[in-house]
Amino acid sequence: MNWTAVKSIYIFEMTRFFRTIAQSIISPVLSTSLYFVVFGAAIGSRIDEVEGVSYGAFIVPGLIMLSVITQSISNASFGIYFPKFIGTIFELLSAPINFLEIVLGYVGAAATKALFIGTIILITAFFFVDISIAHPVAMVAFLILTCISFALMGFIIGIWAGNFEQLQLVPLLIVTPLVFLGGSFYSISMLPPVWQVISMFNPVVYLISGFRWAFFDTADVPILTSLLAIGAFTAICLGLIWWIFKTGWRIRE
């Protein structure tokens, strides 16, 4: 393993993140605050407790997941797409590194950034609502796993994308609806039965449910199922990346 190269890519990517640190923090803090004002205070005050948790607190795990998933994907996809776009990818291809090292560098950096933002949102949430974390270790583990798996997905999107429109397409058309319909703002049990069944096909449901369990000890689906789901998702992404590595698809002709 060329760990020096992994470290170089990681630091290079993190430097770019810290160059725009103000934007990186302000935007998630602002949007989360808006969610709390609108859903927590304005609308939330008229909503009963959900599964024994005040609505303002109930949406915290979902909000964190919403940001973390979006951030992981956009950071990783942009991170690898940008060198393709400006042509600096030649350096990655001609360096004595393998694809695993490239993935570790880019995905590691993208996941770190998303984790950083997730943490900031969690801290922001403490200012608005009372929350306690029932299973802190599980909470951190879920957060990290989500960052990594969606950064892997973002990496695949970045490799696949041929232009900036395509780079936005998957997050916009697939991920955002999945996250919004994945129970960020409600419990799946609040849906009509048909929609409950349909929701079970949404992988994000398992993530948010598991994450919420880590906070409040209540979940839509059993925690083991959640873990299996995120494990399977990570495995699929890894498999795809391995295939990309084998074939050089969209990277090395």
Partner: protein, 309 residues
């Protein structure tokens, strides 16, 4: 000593059937400067990309110091530096950071002294904290060279290093290349400026349509292939070439003051003696006789056309 870079039967074809390289064999000697000349689309960049790992070869092998560039890519690529044709740089990055990044990518531990040496050598030290977007085109090209040299390669590829740069910068670039050669770096550069190959290369390869037409010592190439011109300057200008002298090898200078005879040094007979005796028979009085060696450009154009025919 075995060649530092050994290319054997290298082929590259694409899915649509296009063959960019049609079996290239080339051995590059330690410490030489080899210029690859060829028109646009000849396969120069494909050849470099395939050696450096940017594209995968369809057939054939490349070894650098005995390390196969596919099977033993880590060892092979560590020896090679690449300066691409396009100015591919991250615009918001600082010069020194991007050069340090390149070194790290090649797995070399940080070495501030080496980075400083490279940046000074390329007159970039004053600009080390500038953002790349603030640099001129020539400076950006130097940054690309600095990045390629950051990991101390033994073999350096320069893909059209002087495409689109002004004359002064081109001379600078030649000096840089000469300096690298003095440091013992083997250099392969592509160009379609013949004067560039003529000025700095030890050997010249001509590539067209994916085939290496020839590789030869620059001087030998010029001597062997060189067409020469004999200019017979006359005391009295002529209106036309006298009937007895008519030949497709002979032309009259625009002002009529000289006869220009083109001949091939490879030919069995140059025809000079015959020409001069005819000139004497016509009663023309000579003022001077000059011979001129044709440039690489003529050789090159001749070769590429021959191939096209």
């Amino acid at each position: 000593m075995p060649p530092i870079l050994d290319i054997r039967g290298l082929r590259k074809s694409y899915d649509d059937g296009f063959e960019a390289l049609k079996g290239v064999d080339l051995q590059i000697e330690r410490g030489e400067i080899l210029a690859l000349l060829g028109p646009n689309g000849a396969g120069k960049t494909t050849l470099i990309s395939t050696i450096c790992g940017i594209t995968m070869p369809s057939a054939g092998t490349v070894t650098a110091e005995g390390h196969d560039t596919v099977a033993d890519y880590r060892a092979a690529r560590s020896l090679i530096g690449l300066v691409p044709q396009e100015i591919n740089l991250e615009p918001f990055e600082k010069v020194i950071k991007t050069v340090q990044f390149s070194r790290g990518l090649f797995g070399k531990p940080a070495d501030p002294a080496h980075i400083e040496k490279v940046l000074r050598q390329l007159s970039l030290w004053d600009k080390k904290d500038s953002q790349i977007r603030a640099l001129s085109g020539g400076m950006k090209r130097r940054v690309l060279i600095a990045k390629a040299l950051a990991h101390e390669p033994r073999i350096l590829f320069l893909d059209e290093p002087t495409a689109g740069v002004d004359v002064e910068l081109r001379k600078d670039m030649w000096e840089i290349v000469a300096g690298l050669k003095a440091d013992g770096v083997t250099i392969i550069l592509t160009t379609h400026y013949i004067e560039e190959a003529e000025a700095i290369a030890d050997r010249i390869g001509v590539i067209a349509k994916g085939e290496l037409l020839l590789v030869e010592e620059k001087s030998a190439l010029m001597a062997r292939m060189g067409q020469k011109q004999l200019e017979v300057q006359l005391t009295e200008p002529l209106d036309a070439i006298p009937e007895a002298l008519q030949s497709d090898k002979l032309s009259l200078s625009p002002d009529g003051s000289a006869l220009i005879y083109t001949y091939d040094t490879r030919g069995e007979r140059t025809g000079i003696t015959q020409l001069l005796s005819k000139v004497a028979a016509e009663g023309l009085v000579l003022r001077d006789v000059v011979t001129r060696q044709s440039s690489l450009e003529d050789i090159f154009v001749g070769l590429v056309h021959e191939d096209a025919a």
